[in-house]
Amino acid sequence: MNIETIELTRRFGRTRAVDGVDLSTGPGVFGLLGPNGAGKTSLLRMLATVIPPSSGTMLLLDRDPSGHAPRREIRRRLGYLPQNLGYYPGFTVVEFVEYFALLREMPPGRVPGAVAAAVERVGLGDKAKAKLRTLSGGMLRRAGIAQAIVNEPELLLFDEPTAGLDPEQRVEFRSLIRELGQRATVVVSTHLVEDVGAACSQVALMHQGRIAFQGTPDELTARGVGHGVGDAPLERGYSAILAEARA
């Protein structure tokens, strides 16, 4: 298993943002759904080793990130696109992606080819030498995806990756993560249930820091049968489970 958590909890003051989450997943695309404030971003930040858990157990790529050496190894094999992508506007797309390739300790000889491949894969090949300050929001998001995938990670974490992408780019992004999910564990946190339906093999729905549902998109759809809220079958499943959790 690439991700294994037991009773994972994260508190901010008195608030339990993540409350006893048990997760276990191997290679494939894992969708993380939930309303605002459900704890998706806090869970992803812990999986990205950016914040430590308050309690519980977490193994990433079969290693415990609380130790110095295992955390270093995890970070070398991790890709992370946070919800708020920060960037230096004076960097070109290539410099931005190259910086992250070098920070993730890629062998120097592999860096130029890996950077070129990552930039091409997100469709920014013709903008490779453009400064980030000149790019649109959607292009910046794609540059962020390129920095996350440049080291060919075994664990990829995307927080709202399709925010700012147009419909055509979202379709292409889903294809990309399906391809990445063939050999890596890709966790996608999103509000958009259609992204989950199109790209994910497993899905979890979070509510108030807990996992309210975990299963396949088909199982999520099945939970919505006979439930009237929502335009699409997955949306009906989503709202049915949330209604149960709130009740």
Binding site: R45, A48, T49, V50, R72, R75, R76, L78, Y80, L81, P82, N84, L85, G86, Y87, Y88, G90, F91, T92, V94, E95, E98, Y99, F100, L102, L103, R104, E105, P108, G109, V111, P112, G113, V115, A116, A117, V119, E120, R121, V122, G123, G125, A128, K129, R142, G144, I145, Q147, A148, Q169, E172, F173, R174, S175, L176, I177, R178, E179, L180
Partner: protein
């Protein structure tokens, strides 16, 4: 995006088309990119500005003699240099950078030492041939000490607000100069040969560079 397409083996031509970079030593290239992302060129320009200001102040005899009043403008200039170094700790990448490997602390340490050295060097060069109150040793003690306050402020408030600490400390130190305080923690108010002041400034700088290396600036 080309996710649906088979993986393309990008050869040397594709790499060449993307700009002037080739396989090479990782360290210097990474350090250069890190410094650029921290706007180190801007910080260096600010340090040159501080050195020019010091030169002008010495030439026009705004800084004259060895009394407290002579040191006040010098202290302000040192504060400006320290603030320029501290603000350059700002991380523009946020969590995507914090989730990367263990080269980051070394990069932060290298940047802090390089820019602090540049600040001291710029002010010492700016005073060459003129009589500076306290001389070069005082600059060598006060600028790293003030920079330490800035680095700790960056860790507490974020890089963009890192100037607040040195400025506040300077205001208190200006008062300490006038009132002739003796505490070594107000090192700018102490004479350049005061061992306690050197120890305090050195301890502050060592602690601040350690914090800045491990934690960086506070996430926005």
């Amino acid at each position: 995006m080309t996710g649906a397409m088979p993986r393309v083996d990008l050869g040397p031509d594709a790499v060449r088309d993307m700009g002037p970079f080739r396989p090479g030593p990782t360290g210097p290239r990474l350090f250069r990119l890190h410094l650029i992302s921290r706007q180190a060129p801007g910080a260096l320009a600010a340090l040159v500005g501080c050195a020019v200001l010091l030169r002008v102040a010495l030439h026009l005899r705004w800084i004259q003699g060895g009394g407290a009043s002579a040191q006040q403008l010098l202290l302000l200039i040192e504060c400006g240099a320290a603030a320029a170094v501290a603000v350059a700790t700002r991380n523009p990448f946020g969590e995507s950078e914090r989730s990367t490997g263990f080269r980051l602390p070394l990069l932060r340490l290298g940047a802090a030492l390089l820019l602090t050295g540049a600040a001291v060097g710029a002010l010492v060069l700016g005073a060459v041939g003129a009589r500076l109150p306290g001389g070069a040793p005082q600059v060598l003690r006060d600028v790293p000490g003030l920079t330490a306050v800035g680095l700790l402020t960056a860790a507490a408030l974020g890089g963009a607000l890192a100037w607040v600490g040195p400025l506040t400390y300077t205001v208190v130190a200006e008062f300490a100069l006038l009132e002739d305080w003796h505490t070594p923690w107000m090192w700018p108010a102490r004479p350049p040969h005061d061992l306690g002041a050197w120890v305090c400034a050195g301890l502050a700088f060592a602690a601040a560079t350690a914090v800045a290396s491990v934690r960086g600036d506070r996430a926005a």
